[in-house]
């Protein structure tokens, strides 16, 4: 288990690294707030938080351009936030309010945002992969050099849609970045208990897709791997695949009693907390003062507080509008 080292000595580099630290903390605090709000019964349904895995979304998102597309899973609050959806719109969605990013129609597992090309929020494991392939197909057929980043967990690897999608993307050389967030458990089923071949990057390689693994607890390692892959995809190099090895610190959902893993395993991984690790590395390198850290925390706390206030002030969509958005409000010509 290697520690993160703060790379680069230039001020631009350290600014950027502090920015990544800030991004990860935004996700962490928002998720902690979600758990609190769930306990207070402000949020209902299923809630899956990303605590522990922040380096993955932060590292990958940092390499994407505004015109790129993102497809994510039901554990996607952090992806939405880092893609540019406001924390207020995310929380209001979970409150079920019309001010939410999907007017309260989607909830925690189905966050969408057209403005940032955030295509969900998909609660069917591997259900988003074919969509990502199609988004990339549209880009390729239209001659656009955009990238579609598709996040999914290692549990998706067991689904047929995973294999169909990798094959299609490789066969048609589509600009997809597949990001496998390998947190070792598909809900409660350990990777080794569900896959005959546990080397996930190898599965992608079998489809002739360039693939490699990166330490998903190290945001700089994730970012470096993602940048290399995104650059190659954008340059017309076809799909790329990243296996990002990470760990979920909290339960699968709010209903998970965690019978399937040892507390010692969790605490061992928590020693590699991506936020603490980066903070320590920056401090050691003299690139993060006490004042810097305080400022980051203050900014994040203010953002989350404002988001809660925004959600608390939300309103319910009139029930008369129940049947809207089943079909578009423009009828066929």
């Amino acid at each position: 288990m290697s520690g993160t080292s703060a790379r680069g000595s230039g001020s631009a580099d350290s600014d950027h690294t502090r920015h990544l630290l800030h991004q990860m903390l935004r996700v962490r605090r928002l998720e902690e707030q979600c758990v609190e709000l769930y306990s207070a019964a402000k949020i209902r349904g299923f809630l899956h938080v990303y605590i522990g895995e922040e380096a993955v979304a932060a590292g990958v998102m940092s390499t994407l351009a505004p015109e790129d597309a993102v497809v994510a899973t039901y554990r996607e609050h952090g992806h939405a936030l880092l893609r540019g959806v406001s924390a207020g719109a995310i929380l209001a969605e979970m409150y079920g309010y019309v001010e939410g990013c999907c007017r309260g129609r989607g909830g925690s597992m189905h966050l969408f945002d057209a403005a940032t090309r955030f295509y969900g929020g998909n609660a069917i494991v591997a259900g988003g992969l074919p969509l990502a392939v199609g988004l990339a197909l549209a880009d390729k057929m239209s001659g656009r050099s955009r990238v579609t980043a598709c996040f999914f967990g290692e549990g998706a690897v067991a689904e047929g849609a995973f294999h169909e999608s990798l094959n299609l993307a490789a066969l048609w050389q589509l600009p997809v970045l597949f990001c496998c967030e390998n947190n070792l458990y598909a809900m409660g089923t350990a990777l080794a208990r569900s896959e005959s071949q546990t080397d996930i990057a190898l599965k992608a390689a079998a489809y002739e897709i360039s693939s490699w693994s990166a330490d998903g607890m190290d945001v700089l390692a994730v970012e470096e791997a993602a940048r290399r892959a995104v650059d190659a995809v954008r340059a017309g190099g076809g799909p790329h695949f990243l296996e990002l090895r990470t760990y979920r610190f909290r339960a699968h959902s709010m209903f998970d009693p965690e019978r399937y893993r040892e507390k010692t395993e969790v605490s061992r991984w928590m020693e590699r907390d991506p936020i603490n690790t980066l903070r320590n590395a920056l401090e050691t390198a003299g690139q993060l003062t006490e004042k810097d850290w305080k400022k980051i925390q203050q900014d994040v706390d203010a953002e989350v507080k404002a988001a809660v206030e925004f959600a608390e002030a939300g309103t319910l969509e009139p029930v008369e509008e129940l049947t809207r958005f089943v079909y578009s409000e423009r009828s066929p010509q």
């Binding site: 597309a69 939410g100 990013c101 999907c102 007017r103 309260g104 129609r105 989607g106 189905h110 969408f112 945002d113 057209a114 295509y119 969900g120 929020g121 998909n122 069917i124 259900g127 992969l129 074919p130 969509l131 990502a132 392939v133 199609g134 988004l135 990339a136 197909l137 549209a138 880009d139 057929m141 239209s142 579609t148 047929g160 849609a161 169909e164 999608s165 094959n167 299609l168 066969l171 809207r324 958005f325 089943v326 079909y327 578009s328 409000e329 423009r330 009828s331 066929p332 010509q333």
Partner: protein, 326 residues
């Protein structure tokens, strides 16, 4: 001009490809092979492999890719070889295509057209012969079309491509060889209304798709017996054209629904329920139904025939309804 249902469908696809560069056809063997049922024959040579795109046998993958491409600004036509194979893509159809607009609060519509063959009558056994369009009609968010005539085979596709939401087109396998006259200027038709194919005053025979020819045949036979049957072709199974159904029943006071799907939990059950709910006091007889026998479709010709709605059974059901006149 003289044409066939297959050729009319091909002309519709060619027309769409010529009209809109965002349109492309994708599916198993649509290209080099010429289409399993030869609907796309020649289009690969005419439009090339990008726009007549052969796919691997990955129904979930390429239907999902169609959804993604539609989200990305294209206007895909996805062909699924038969309705039975569409079950491999049910997740994408039901969990994504039908739900994305709603889940996203109106942000992401899916302008996708999916065509597939449906129905029995060709001795293809229980994995190529079912009529599951009624199932799909259960799903909010989808539009379900069942072209039964040359005009609809020629005209529904373009209108479907203009629909901002997912449209499923079910082409009955026994219709492809139906030949007839089609106006030279035949073009887009509406995809929201039912059509009276034969006006009549004694009974409404309500059907769609592959059973329309048998129903028209039955109506001719009934006419010889002095029973004047109205034949209503639903054309669209979702959303149902309630006004046309209820209007016909209000004129005839009797109805028999003919549906190649199984009776239990079927679109015929839905129609029967709607007529009973909304036109109970117009009825002079119980609503009748002629459906497929509740068996997986068998291969042997005599058994397959015994399972399907035939003109003879439709005539018998109509006679019973008319005989029930008070």
């Amino acid at each position: 001009m003289k044409t066939t249902y297959r050729e009319a469908m091909r002309a519709a696809i060619r027309d769409a490809l010529q009209r809109d560069e965002r349109v492309f056809l994708m599916g198993e063997d649509v290209g080099a092979y010429g289409g399993c049922f030869a609907v796309s024959l020649g289009l690969f040579e005419e439009f090339g492999p990008e726009r007549i795109r052969d796919t691997p046998l990955s129904e979930s993958g390429f239907v999902g890719a169609g959804i993604g491409a539609a989200l990305g600004g294209m206007r895909p036509i996805v062909e699924i070889m038969t309705v039975n194979f569409s079950l491999l893509a049910l997740d994408q159809l039901v969990n994504n295509a039908a739900t994305l607009l709603h889940m996203s609060g109106g942000q992401f519509n899916v302008p996708l057209v999916i065509r597939m063959t449906t129905g029995a009558g060709r001795q293809l056994g229980a994995q190529h012969s079912h009529s599951l369009e009624g199932w799909y009609a259960h799903i909010p968010g989808l539009r379900i079309l069942t072209p039964a005539t040359l005009e609809d085979a020629r005209g529904m596709l373009w209108t479907a491509l203009e629909d901002p939401d997912p449209v499923l087109i079910f082409e009955h396998g026994t219709l492809y060889n139906v030949a007839g006259d089609l106006a030279d200027d035949a073009g887009p038709v509406d995809i929201s209304t039912a059509a009276v194919r034969r006006p009549g005053k004694d009974i409404s025979l309500i059907t769609y798709g592959g059973t329309l020819p048998a129903v028209l045949d039955a109506a001719t036979q009934l006419a010889a017996e002095g029973i004047d049957a109205e034949v209503l072709d639903l054309r669209v199974l979702r959303p149902l054209d309630d006004a046309a159904v209820l209007g016909s029943v209000a004129r005839t006071h009797r109805a028999v629904v003919v549906d190649e799907g199984w009776r239990s939990g079927s679109i015929s059950a839905e129609l029967s329920a709607r007529i009973t709910e909304n036109a109970f006091f117009d009825l002079d007889a119980p609503v009748g139904r002629v459906c497929s026998a509740e068996v997986p479709l068998p291969y042997a010709k005599h058994l397959e025939l015994a399972a399907l709605p035939t003109a003879e059974r439709i005539v018998a059901a109509a006679r019973e309804a008319v005989g029930a006149r008070g």
